[in-house]
Every structure is written in structure tokens, then in C-alpha cells.
């Protein structure tokens, strides 16, 4: 599988050539994680992809918009501007788990440390409370950021954080579960 820069001016694209499954996989990885149009395979992207569990890869793949990708006789080509899109990012929440977050999507669990939280769970909402302090709640893509701030606050004041996560297991439309845990400071 090879990549080549083609076109001029505003009309530029990366042409992927090779067996169709390899081309599809490379386009997926590049659109998901490449910081710029990749003429060569990016080792960082390759490593990130290799480390993902299957449920998270499925979540990443679901979020890739293949609009503008043109199949060719030898593979496919992807317009330059498609690589400028915002990528999913990883959020590590101490005591709760590691999440992948993307704009407009339910965050997905990469690894869970909160109760029965499992890789691939989609986070709908979170509620938290801390004795003596104001609690909070969040939903959707912004949830891990807010939850992270709550965890940091709890650590800074030496309090235990009581967290309840509502997740979907088995995709966005999967079974809903309430999972609770206490995060030590």
C-alpha cells in the first residue's frame, strides 16, 4: 500500500494505492488521527491505532465521514482538506477510566476503572457528588472534560468523589447501565 501526493493548488489529494482492505484501513487511520495529509505512513498514527481495542476502533470507524473520498481503479483518493478536521482525543480520568472523545459523539471507554465500566461503553451522562461541596452532572462529548475537572477538584481538597455514569453497552443504542464508583483523592 502506497500514498502519493497528487494535484495542484486547491485541488490536491492523497492517492492510496494497493489492495482494497489495506487502502480502507489506511484511510481510516489517517482520517482519524493524522495531523496533516500523510505522504508517508505516520508512525505515531500507526502506534495509536495499534493500541486501540476493537470496540474503540469500531467507535473510531463509526465517526469517520467518508464524504469526498473517491474510489479509483487502484485504490482511493482523499482531498487534502479532509485531514484538517478535528480528531478524537484521549482523556484519562484518574480512578474512572480512559475515554476517547470526539465532537458531537458519545465518548467511548477505552479502559474502565470505575465499577463495571468496560471498554467500548458509550458515556451518556455522568453525575458526581462530594461531601460538603457542590456536585455536578454532564452529558455528551463535553462530559469527560467536566468529569476530569471534578476529579481534580476532589483531589485538590482531599475528598472522595462519588460518581455515577450512565452508559450504553453495545453501541450508542445498546443497553443502558448505571455504574457507580467512588474515586479516592
Amino acid at each position: 500500500m502506497t500514498r502519493a501526493l497528487e494535484g495542484t493548488g486547491d485541488q490536491r489529494w492523497i492517492a492510496y494505492t494497493g489492495p482494497r482492505p489495506a487502502v480502507a484501513s489506511a484511510i481510516l487511520r489517517d482520517l482519524a488521527f493524522a495531523a496533516q495529509a500523510p505522504v508517508l505512513p505516520d508512525p505515531e498514527v500507526e502506534r495509536t491505532w495499534a493500541e486501540l481495542s476493537d470496540p474503540v476502533r469500531a467507535w473510531v470507524a463509526e465517526g469517520i465521514d467518508l464524504g469526498g473520498v473517491v474510489p479509483t481503479a487502484t485504490g482511493a483518493r482523499v482531498p487534502f482538506e479532509r485531514y484538517a478536521e478535528v480528531h478524537a482525543v484521549r482523556r484519562n480520568l484518574n480512578g474512572i477510566g480512559t475515554f476517547w472523545v470526539a465532537e458531537g459523539r458519545l465518548p467511548v471507554v477505552e479502559s474502565g476503572r470505575c465499577g463495571r465500566l468496560e471498554a467500548g461503553d458509550r458515556l451518556f451522562t455522568a453525575r458526581w457528588s462530594m461531601p460538603g461541596y457542590t456536585g455536578g452532572q454532564c452529558s455528551g462529548a463535553g462530559c469527560p472534560d467536566r468529569l476530569e475537572r471534578a476529579v481534580q477538584k476532589a483531589r485538590s481538597v482531599g475528598e472522595r468523589l462519588q460518581v455515577t455514569l450512565t452508559v450504553a453497552r453495545g453501541g450508542d443504542a445498546g443497553t443502558r447501565l448505571d455504574i457507580g464508583c467512588r474515586v479516592a483523592p
Partner: protein, 335 residues
């Protein structure tokens, strides 16, 4: 060191030795028994109604047990009030009660109260008390204030209790709710975290009570002038107490015996039939025994001849009077 010894040392560290080597996380970290059970109940409940009961139960244990148990009880009581202060109309009242409990714990266990959780709870409770005109300045973090080493009890209160009562919600329960009482220690100074502001400081010692208003902004707390100790005068004639004793100040004015203080000037002790005596009052207070000396007596024997009352007066008998003294005399008439 043999490998086996290393292994056992590591095992000891992992089994809790390491945890004990560091500072405790709260004043309750090293406490067991009923007080620890109360602290555990507080940690597991979410019921606001239970917080007030737990605070009262814990406060009842503050004066009993070891210093660590007492500190844990005060911390549990303060924490329960702190939890209540998170919301509600009475949050400033609850925050003030929390400050009282947490400061008590700080006095009893300064090390345990230096950990992140107690420091944060005390700071947050202080901030929830808010700005109070004439007492607390707005938005200031608590500062470390040192109470000097000495005997006595200190009461710290809002300099303007009326303003505090208004801020607290103007209910009767607000009266005194922000007052903090601290038993001073002659063994060493006490460090407390106090919000900067104006405080009414009342010092009570075995000799009495003194009060003043002072600004607090960290450093050593200015105590009111030492209360002068009361002095009692015990005038005696040998071993017998003397009756009808009169106390006079330097200007000769009569003094109330119950009002004598160690910082008063010299006092003249007088009684009928006794020589007046001027004494200085002891600075430590207490009872001052004053032996009085009976007045000199001049006896005059008069031998009367002829009709009654018509006798002749003779020179006085008895001890000679001292020069310049108008000593009372007894005249004896003879027939």
C-alpha cells in the same frame, strides 16, 4: 543486609508501616472505637438530617478520651456542620459551626489537621461564613494565628455580634454561634487558622476575665491585658480574726473588701482597737494575712475622795504613750 531481611522490610512497608510513617490524612486516621465509628457513619451517609444528629453526637464526645479521640470527635462534628453548609438557607450558620468544630480539632491535633482534606474543609467553611461588616473582611483566606503559651481560656468572637447575627439570619441560634473557645496551654503556643478581621478576644484566667477588640491578620494574637487577681485581706489578732476591719486607699477613702485586685495600690487596714497598717497587695492574688497590733493602752488611776465624782484625777497608769501619738487611754477613777 540479607535478601530475606530486605523482603521483610518491604513487606512491612507495604502492610502499613509506610502509611504510619507519613502524616495522617485526617485527625481520625489513627483513632478507633466509638468516635471512629461516628466518623465512619458520617463518611457513608448522604442524609442531611443525619448530619445534624452526627454533629451533636460527636460534639458530646469532644471533652472525653485521648487527645486524638477528642480531636477526631471535634473534626467529625465540624465536618458534619461543614456538609450541611454546602447548601440551604442556614449555610452561614452551619459554616460558622463547622469552623468552631474544625478549629477545636486543629487545637487538639495540629498535625492531623494539616492534611489536605482538613485544611480544605476549614478554609471552605471560613469562606462560606462570608464577609461580615465589623468582623470578617471579604474574600480573605484564613491566616495562621499564634495564641501565646499561657494558662487560661480564650474566647474569640465577632467584634460586632449584631452584624454577625444579621448576616447569619437573625435567629436566636445565631447568638454565639460564631464564638470559638480555646483552652490555652502553658506548655506551648497554639496555631489556629483564622479569617482576617476584627475579633472580640476574651481572656479568662483563674484571676478573672479581660476583654478587648483587636484586628487579626496572622502572626501572634494580641491578648487583652492580664486580668488582675482578686485579693482578700485576712486581718488577725494573733490567731483570732479581727472584726469590723476597714480598708482605706492612699487617699483615706474606704474600699469595698470584695473589690480588691492585685494591681491596686497599697491599702491601709484598720480596725477599732488596733494600730492601722499599710500593706502592698500580692501580685499573684489570693488571701493576704495581715497581723494587726492592738493599740497601746494608757491606764490612769484616780483616787476619789469625798463625794462621788469629786475625786482627783491622777496621772495615767500603764505603758507609756509614744511621743506624738494620741493614744486612747483608759481612765480609772478611784474613790
Amino acid at each position: 543486609m540479607p535478601a530475606r531481611a530486605w523482603t521483610s522490610a518491604v513487606a512491612w512497608l507495604l502492610s502499613g508501616g509506610l502509611a504510619w510513617a507519613g502524616p495522617p490524612e485526617t485527625p481520625c486516621a489513627r483513632v478507633e472505637g466509638p468516635v471512629a465509628a461516628l466518623a465512619a457513619r458520617l463518611g457513608s451517609t448522604r442524609d442531611r438530617g443525619a448530619f445534624a444528629r452526627l454533629a451533636q453526637d460527636a460534639a458530646a464526645l469532644v471533652d472525653a478520651g485521648t487527645p486524638h479521640e477528642r480531636a477526631c470527635a471535634a473534626y467529625t462534628a465540624g465536618s458534619a456542620w461543614f456538609f450541611l453548609s454546602a447548601q440551604g438557607a442556614d449555610r452561614r450558620y452551619h459554616a460558622a459551626a463547622a469552623v468552631g468544630g474544625l478549629l477545636r480539632a486543629q487545637q487538639l491535633d495540629p498535625e492531623g489537621m494539616a492534611a489536605r482534606q482538613p485544611v480544605s474543609r476549614l478554609r471552605e467553611a471560613w469562606l462560606r461564613v462570608g464577609a461580615v461588616p465589623g468582623w470578617l473582611e471579604p474574600g480573605r483566606d484564613p491566616a495562621a494565628v499564634t495564641l501565646p503559651a499561657r494558662e487560661g481560656t480564650l474566647r474569640l468572637a465577632p467584634a460586632d455580634p449584631a452584624a454577625w447575627k444579621v448576616a447569619c439570619g437573625a435567629t436566636a441560634s445565631c447568638d454565639g454561634a460564631a464564638d470559638v473557645e480555646v483552652a490555652l496551654s502553658p506548655a506551648g503556643p497554639i496555631a489556629l487558622s483564622l479569617r482576617p478581621g476584627q475579633y472580640a478576644v476574651t481572656l479568662t484566667t483563674p484571676c478573672g476575665t479581660a476583654r478587648h477588640t483587636t484586628p487579626v491578620a496572622g502572626g501572634t494574637l494580641a491578648l487583652p491585658p492580664e486580668p488582675a487577681c482578686p485579693v482578700a485581706i485576712d486581718a488577725r489578732d494573733g490567731v483570732q480574726p479581727v472584726a469590723d476591719v476597714q480598708l482605706l486607699d492612699a487617699a483615706g477613702r474606704a474600699l469595698d473588701p470584695g473589690s480588691l485586685r492585685a494591681d491596686g495600690g497599697p491599702v491601709t487596714v484598720a480596725a477599732p482597737g488596733f494600730e492601722p497598717r499599710r500593706v502592698s497587695l500580692p501580685t499573684s492574688g489570693g488571701t493576704l494575712e495581715v497581723p494587726l497590733v492592738r493599740c497601746a493602752v494608757e491606764l490612769v488611776v484616780v483616787v476619789a475622795r469625798g463625794r462621788a465624782g469629786g475625786g482627783r484625777r491622777r496621772r495615767p497608769l500603764g505603758p507609756a504613750t509614744r511621743a506624738g501619738r494620741a493614744a486612747p487611754a483608759m481612765w480609772i477613777w478611784t474613790r
